[in-house]
């Protein structure tokens, strides 16, 4: 179910953009023909497996691999000793700078194991059974150390220290002792004391979220074939083959140009596949064994050893006048980073107040290492956490002031020309339109029954551009191939084909989109940050425009007229020269058939750094029913409005919104990392780590607000991340209104909800 609200400029003249063609990867996926990471195989391939620490924090005194090496069928064993001991160095790859020392030590523990599941050794053997047997024959002598997982406990004086070299960055005074606090950041504006003094009401709250996993269905998987002649290859499931290439090269001391990485079909990433875990190990094993090595994580390994996002504690203090104008806000965010620095607390801080025009604020963020898996990006990294806190506080403010929650947001909303809390001035945003769409939707006035409540929340995500490459090749039959360097995580192949088809004037079925390996297309930043349809789409569009220019030139040559007298309409060159009136158009297929005599193959490639990504805003409305006996929360109805720029393929955009909402509902109601007293994860499987399934959810209604982005040829904005930002608070606010108790700690699992009801 969906509505599309068009705003000018309308879709004048567009034939493909905005339609809903069958997805190009659909048949492969539903028939099982799609080749995911674990499907790839090479002759003579070995099986690689990882031995992992059973301790949350332990010094590695020794690793004895002799008995394992003696086992028949074992071809290679690697430990940290087989990797360069890298110095702390930040290197640009993925979406930004990564610390190579930390990345290396996350892939393979060096000196200390820092979390349950941390890799300490890896083997390659002729079969999975032999590899498993070899793992059991590796003896690791540990000195178990005290551990700390709770973020505030990790910040406390005297907490077990993860890294002796870690001194807090961002403090006013240079710290004299190491700490688990990696960094402090602060955003400020105005005079906080003056702002609170001007307030008629001041509210304070403390909000807690649990670490949750991205939960992609496909586990991490790769095949690596090392070659000493500089032709090593990796086939893997990731969000960026160029990222995999760079990190493998750096972690193994190889030249990036000596590694070719081919992306497989990807079964979900959500940010969790923007780094490497297995690929460097598989390459190192392959180098030692002299044979290709395949590695596939179990679900247990995915949970224990790959990035969830942070658990966090956020405090919010809001001051407002009695008519609902916010005068001051103070937000403090403490985010788990896991075993190495780098939580998403900075974007969490930057987004915390991004929907609001607040004159005075201070936002303080703390990045804290803990004995848990190093966090990885997860859809709008950091933003859902801070939005849960701020939007819960806004709901409390609405209740306290007796103001409609949407009206309260409208009163304080950012608009074009308003400076965002993180600095720049907003332009061409559709935030207020999302508020209006929910306010005017029948859902907002629909009656509620007993034990039911309705919650509202908003969210923001920046969206980014970045480096992208694309090529368009015209086939001799008049078809076109679009080649990009971005794995298709959320439907980008469809949008790439549609944008090319629109420019070329072809039916979309005549355009085949493919994702190329690192040797076959120019550099492309990974698929993430909701950038691909915007940035890579810009490269595709420009490449297609170059093709059209070339085709017009060829037609002009054939007709012997100036190229200025040739237009391109509906997939054909049209002669505008009055002296040649009546000439039939030259179709793309016709020109392609004559390419050998008009200049050769018809092809174009464009590489660019896309600028001007438009931010995304979302407004969500959620109805719940709470079972007072069990505390179980049922989602009854959910409506999500989002400024999407211009929807290239509306069904995919709706799918992104629905998917983000589903993940946010899981975060709100059920998902959490549960650790035992020794710091071992107790629920590392989908039976015990409860993600929502289709039967848990109603149909999620997506409302597409189209405020076009003038910096994109078709007006696109990123859409994949904003929809996961509001649901945590939308659900919590609905529960608040259903049971008349503000619950501030996620997940709102049945025992906690029941306890809250009992404590009323």
């Amino acid at each position: 179910m969906s509505d599309v609200i068009d705003r000018p400029p309308a879709r004048a003249g567009l034939k493909v953009i905005g339609t809903r063609p069958v997805r190009p990867d659909g048949a492969d996926k539903v028939t099982g023909r799609a080749a995911f990471g674990a499907d790839f195989a090479l002759p003579g391939m070995l099986v690689g497996k990882v031995k992992r620490s059973p301790h949350a924090h332990a010094r590695i005194l020794s690793i004895d691999t002799r008995r394992a090496r003696a086992l028949a069928g074992v071809k290679a064993i690697v430990t940290a000793a087989d990797f360069p001991d890298l110095a702390s160095e930040e290197y640009e790859a993925g979406e930004g700078a990564a610390n190579l020392r930390d990345l290396s030590q996350n892939c393979m523990a060096r000196g200390k194991a820092l979390y349950d599941g941390h890799a300490v050794a890896a083997v390659a053997a002729t079969s999975a059974a032999v590899a498993d047997a070899a793992l059991s024959l590796i003896t690791v002598d540990y000195e178990v150390l005290p551990h700390v997982i709770d973020v505030e406990a990790a910040m406390a004086p005297g907490a077990p220290l993860l890294h002796a070299h870690l001194f807090t960055q961002g403090l006013e005074e240079t710290p004299q002792a190491p700490s688990n606090i990696a960094a402090r950041n602060e955003l400020t504006r105005g005079d906080l004391a003056e702002g609170f003094a001007a307030a008629d009401v001041v509210l304070e709250g403390r909000y807690v979220t649990a670490a949750v996993h991205q939960g992609y269905i496909e586990p991490h998987a790769c095949v690596a074939a090392f070659a000493s002649d500089g032709q090593s290859q990796v086939w893997s499931s990731s969000q960026g083959q160029f990222m995999v290439r760079t990190f493998c090269a750096k972690l193994l001391g190889l030249n990036a140009s000596d590694i070719r990485v081919t992306p497989s079909e990807i079964g979900g990433g959500f940010g969790g596949k923007t780094t490497v875990y297995l690929e460097p190990l598989a390459l190192a094993l392959s180098r030692q064994a002299g044979a290709p090595v395949k590695m596939v994580m179990t679900r247990d390994e995915v949970f224990r050893a790959t990035g969830p996002t942070s658990g966090a504690v956020v405090t919010v203090k809001l001051g407002a006048t009695s008519d609902g104008r916010i005068t001051a806000a103070e937000v403090e965010l403490k985010y788990q980073a896991g075993a190495f620095p780098g939580s998403p607390v900075v974007p969490g801080s930057m987004t915390a107040l991004a929907c609001y025009d607040v004159p005075n604020f201070r936002i303080t963020g703390w990045d804290v290492v803990t004995n848990s898996p190093k966090v990885a990006a997860y859809r709008a990294p950091g933003a859902p956490i801070s939005a849960f806190a701020v939007e819960s506080a806004m709901d409390e403010l609405a209740l306290k002031l007796g103001i409609d929650p949407i009206a309260l947001r409208e009163k304080n909303a950012v608009r074009d020309g308003v400076k965002a809390a993180y600095g720049p001035t907003f332009r061409n945003i559709g935030y207020v339109e999302t508020l209006e769409a929910i306010r005017d939707h029948p859902h907002y006035q629909a009656p509620l029954g007993r034990n039911q409540g309705r919650g509202f929340a908003v969210g923001f995500w920046f969206n980014i551009g970045g480096e992208s490459s694309a090529a368009v090749h015209v086939g001799e039959d008049g078809s076109a191939t679009v080649v990009t360097g971005n794995p298709d995580v959320g439907g980008s192949r469809a949008s790439m084909a549609m944008m090319a088809a629109e420019v070329l004037g072809l039916p979309v079925e005549k355009v085949r989109p493919i994702v190329a390996d690192t040797a076959s297309i120019g550099f492309s930043m990974l698929t993430g940050g909701s950038r691909t349809t915007f940035a890579t789409g810009m490269a595709v569009t420009q490449a297609a425009q170059k093709i059209v220019a070339d085709l017009k030139r060829r037609a002009a040559s054939i007709w012997d007229v100036p190229v200025e007298n040739v237009d391109w309409l509906d997939g054909a060159a049209v002669c505008l020269d009055p002296a040649k009136a009546g000439l039939p158009p030259l179709t793309l297929a016709g020109l392609a058939a004559r390419s050998a005599k008009t200049g050769g193959p018809i092809t174009a490639e464009v590489s660019l750094t896309a600028q001007g990504a438009g931010p995304g805003f979302a407004a969500h409305l959620c109805d719940v029913e709470v079972d007072p006996e069990t505390g179980h929360v049922t989602i009854l109805r959910y409506t999500a409005a989002q400024d999407v720029g211009r929807a290239i393929h509306p069904a995919y955009v709706e799918g992104q919104i629905q998917g983000g909402v589903a993940q946010g509902i899981g975060w709100a109601l059920n998902e959490e990392y549960v650790f035992d007293a020794e710091g071992r994860m107790e629920n590392a499987g989908f039976l015990d780590y409860r993600m929502p399934v289709a039967s848990d959810l109603p149909m999620i209604e997506a409302i597409l607000i189209e405020v076009a982005n003038p910096r994109h040829p078709f007006g696109a904005k990123g859409v994949g991340e904003a929809p996961i930002v509001p649901p945590l608070a939308a659900v919590a606010n609905a529960v608040r209104r259903a049971i008349d108790v503000r619950m501030t700690e996620l997940p709102l699992s049945p025992p906690k909800v029941r306890a809250a009801i009992d404590a009323r």
Binding site: L187, F270, M350, Y378, N463, G529
Partner: protein
């Protein structure tokens, strides 16, 4: 001359706490060079960690962007995504 603002504490470590300053420069690249001369280390910090917004638009590759005397430049932490 262009006005540079940073709301971010990591930049203010290099600027003795200053959050706003005017810089004589006609491109972003020259602005970064000027900032680095005035606040040693800030240029490298901007290159590695920051994105730059000029008159409201965030640039990831801003070096060649022209600045006017009326330009407002924001230094903000670089943004990724999921």
């Amino acid at each position: 001359m262009p006005h540079v603002v940073t709301a971010c504490s990591t930049c203010r470590q290099f600027t003795d706490g200053l959050a706003e300053f005017d810089v004589e420069a006609d491109t972003v690249r020259r602005m970064i060079q000027a900032l680095d001369r005035r606040f040693p280390g800030l240029g490298d910090h901007i290159d590695r960690r920051m994105a730059i917004a000029v008159d409201g638009e965030i640039f990831q590759d801003a070096g060649a962007v022209a600045l006017t005397p009326a330009s407002e430049v924001y230094l903000i932490p670089r943004i990724g995504g999921g």
